[in-house]
């Protein structure tokens, strides 16, 4: 019965999740209509740009410029804030210092071969030059400063070092996602020496698996599916040097494809929302030819401000935005070849208030801007983060006017009411927002308030009741001719 009901519910979701219009997952994990948080603003394609983009792989925003690497054209393309082409580099000259150090001739240039990742900081431009098995560091005049190719780790005795995505912290320490590396994110020092793997996810076998494996022969174990830990797909570093990472969903970890790795290497992302941040939570499992099945494939993550981050789902071409607590804020983006859609999203980054999505299939950059709704949500979260709960509540009111199904907004107003001491009203709002933790706090204050106000009545009632019971007992004893006084 339950199964049939669940199936019917999933079937009922199709028109919602596949059709146009934005949705959000409610507390009960049902998809429901919601206002879009991001809306199409502009689209920049390779022809309009005048650049030779064949297979753009990564996009990163630094100051007023957008840096794109292309794995087929082997180029680094730089676009300015008006989305005009600034540079298109395929060859890089070397700095004198680097040339002297390596003893190369004057005039030798360095070319890229299938670069998949790029990151830009104050200290320079870092390109994951995948097919050349190296990381190229350029200065801001686009001259080669350094090349890191030799990784001193036993893993690379057998396989090649193929960096795919890279992010760099202010001290030039590089965090690299490399192909076929399952140990975690590689942390490489500024001088190119390998430091350690970070964000490692150990595989945990259940007791039954350990037992069944102990009975198997070598051949049987080989035939079984390999137990591989998390395979990271992308990394980006935030202003506190925490690494936001996305990974492929595996069977052993279906619910944490997004991680926030602190400098110690521990995943500290908050999962306090109604469900863990993982993209779509309702999806069809197993093979079928009608709909896209399986969980979201997250390929890039972009951090904006106040702990708000957006992830890109390549499978269904969607953008999921979460806040620092792990609440899902809005879902946008749609699959398609039209100008306002993207079909093969590979990278995204925030450019001021705009969100840029790089589409590899159509070699286009789709620019999204916040809608009124999205801007209000971000503003409210900002106020909430700096502790101005009343201002946040005012903005949440506006959000509710646009979308009265928006559960998080009710919690925001509830928190303001809780601070102002309006506990009963706060309880109502927390109930609408399904926040049990804060409801409990508001309820405790409310209940204790009532008890305090009526303490005299409650105590005197208890005393009277006890007195009545004792009196009745005494009455009964005397009625039967006994006495309550002690006598021998």
């Amino acid at each position: 019965m339950k199964k049939i009901v669940a199936l019917m519910m999933i079937l009922a979701l199709f028109p919602l999740t596949l059709g146009a219009g934005s949705y959000i997952y409610s507390y009960w994990e049902h998809a429901m209509h919601s206002a879009p948080g991001l809306a199409f603003e502009a689209s920049i394609n390779a022809e309009g740009l005048g650049a030779n983009l064949v297979s753009p792989e990564d996009l990163v925003v630094y100051e007023d410029s957008v840096y794109i690497v292309d794995s087929k054209a082997d180029s680094l393309v730089i676009i300015d804030e008006d989305f005009d082409l600034k540079h298109e580099w395929t060859e890089f000259v070397m700095t004198d210092a680097y040339r002297e150090r390596t003893g190369t001739d004057m005039g030798t240039v360095l070319t890229l071969n299938g670069p998949y990742g790029v990151d830009v900081t104050v200290n320079g431009i870092f390109i994951a030059d995948t097919s050349n098995n190296r990381i190229v560091k350029l200065n801001h005049d686009f001259e080669v400063v350094d090349v890191f190719g030799e990784i001193d780790d036993p893993t690379f005795d057998e396989i090649k070092f193929e960096p795919k995505k890279i992010t760099v912290d202010p001290t030039n320490r590089m965090y690299v996602v490399a192909r076929n590396i399952y140990e975690g994110i590689m942390e490489i020092n500024s001088d190119g020496t390998f430091n350690r793997y970070t964000g490692v996810n150990p595989i945990e076998l259940t007791p039954f698996e350990i037992f069944s494996r102990s009975l198997m022969t070598e051949e049987q174990i080989e035939q079984m599916q390999l137990f591989l830990p998390t395979e990271y797909t992308n990394v980006t570093i935030d202003d506190r040097n925490f690494i936001y990472a996305t990974s492929r969903v595996s069977e052993n970890n279906p619910e944490n494809p997004i991680q926030l790795i602190n400098p110690k290497g521990v995943d500290v992302i908050k999962r306090n929302g109604y469900y863990p941040p993982m993209g779509d939570i309702q999806y069809v499992e197993g093979d079928n030819s009608y709909v896209v099945e399986g969980p979201s494939t997250l390929v890039d993550i972009a951090y904006t401000h106040d702990g708000i981050y957006t992830v890109l789902d390549r499978k269904r071409s969607r953008l999921f935005t979460y806040d620092s607590e792990g609440y899902l804020l809005y879902i946008d983006g749609e699959e398609g070849k039209q100008i306002d859609r993207f079909s093969e999203g590979v990278a995204l980054d925030y450019f001021g208030d705009n969100l840029l999505v790089l589409d590899r299939g159509t070699t286009t950059i789709v620019v999204y801007g916040h809608t009124e709704f999205g801007a209000y949500v971000n503003e409210a979260i900002h106020y909430h983060n700096i502790g101005e709960f009343d201002k946040a509540a005012e903005v949440w009111e506006k959000v509710i006017k646009i979308n009265s199904n928006y559960e998080i907004a009710y919690n925001g107003i509830g928190k303001m009411l809780l601070r102002e001491g309006q506990y009963k009203e706060a309880m109502e709002y927390f109930e609408m927002g399904y926040d049990q933790y804060y409801y409990s706090k508001a309820f405790q204050e409310y209940r204790n308030g009532i008890i305090k106000a009526n303490f005299v009545w409650i105590i005197s009632g208890l005393v009277l009741f006890a007195g009545f019971l004792i009196g009745r007992k005494i009455y009964k004893v005397y009625k039967q001719g006994g006495t309550i006084l002690y006598d021998d």
Partner: protein
């Protein structure tokens, strides 16, 4: 009137709690002196159905994880009845083969009476959960664990006494009951599946005829 109320109080509260605290004497009176009443057992079972529905909506917000839109009274009703039906029939069919002394009626009555602690603590806990904060919810959970443990205890002692078994044989009969319930469920599912296929077959033949002639 007073006498009637006293009788109801005795039947529905005094005697079940007597069984709970004195399982051997209680079930002795229950079985030998015919103190157990089918009407009481049926009322308890119906109350249990009501409790399931009551809890769905009236459990405190802090522990209530039920979506009010998914409340289906009929489903709750049939779930409880199916469970009790499967257990009693399973237990009866097994104990008959294991020289149990209990009749089907006694097994059904015993199952009904065993719901007593669950009903008592269940209704009390449901009301109480509306007045507790998240930190104090331990009391509610403790109450419910106790309720389930006591119900389990009553069913266990009931089977032991009604069939006049020893400890080992009681445990064995529970395992056998579980197996027989599984078998019944399997046969039931098989039956429904086959019926479905037969219906589909007949429907397709009728369609075929209709389309041809």
């Amino acid at each position: 009137m007073m006498i009637k109320l006293k009788k109801i109080y005795h039947d529905f509260i005094r005697f079940p709690s007597y069984i709970l605290f004195h399982p051997f004497d209680g079930y002795e009176e229950f079985k030998r002196y015919k103190k157990g009443k089918l009407s009481v057992a049926i009322v308890f079972i119906v109350l249990f159905v009501y409790y399931q529905i009551f809890r769905f909506r009236n459990l405190g917000f802090l522990v209530n994880n039920n979506n009010p839109l998914e409340l289906n009274s009929l489903e709750e009703f049939f779930t409880v009845f199916l469970l009790i039906f499967l257990f009693t029939v399973g237990n009866w069919s097994v104990t008959t083969l294991m020289q149990g002394k209990g009749t089907y009626k006694e097994i059904l009555m015993m199952t009904g009476y065993s719901l007593f602690p669950l009903l008592l603590f269940g209704f009390m806990g449901t009301v109480l959960s509306n007045f507790l904060t998240l930190d104090e919810m331990g009391f509610y959970h403790l109450m419910m664990y106790l309720a389930y443990a006591l119900t389990g205890w009553m069913i266990f002692m009931g089977v032991l006494n009604i069939h006049e078994y020893g400890l080992g044989k009681t445990i064995l009969s529970f395992i056998a009951t579980f197996v027989s319930v599984s078998v019944m469920m399997f046969v039931g599912l098989l039956f429904f599946d086959l019926i479905q296929q037969i219906i589909a077959f007949v429907v397709s033949i009728v369609n075929e005829f209709n389309l041809r002639y």
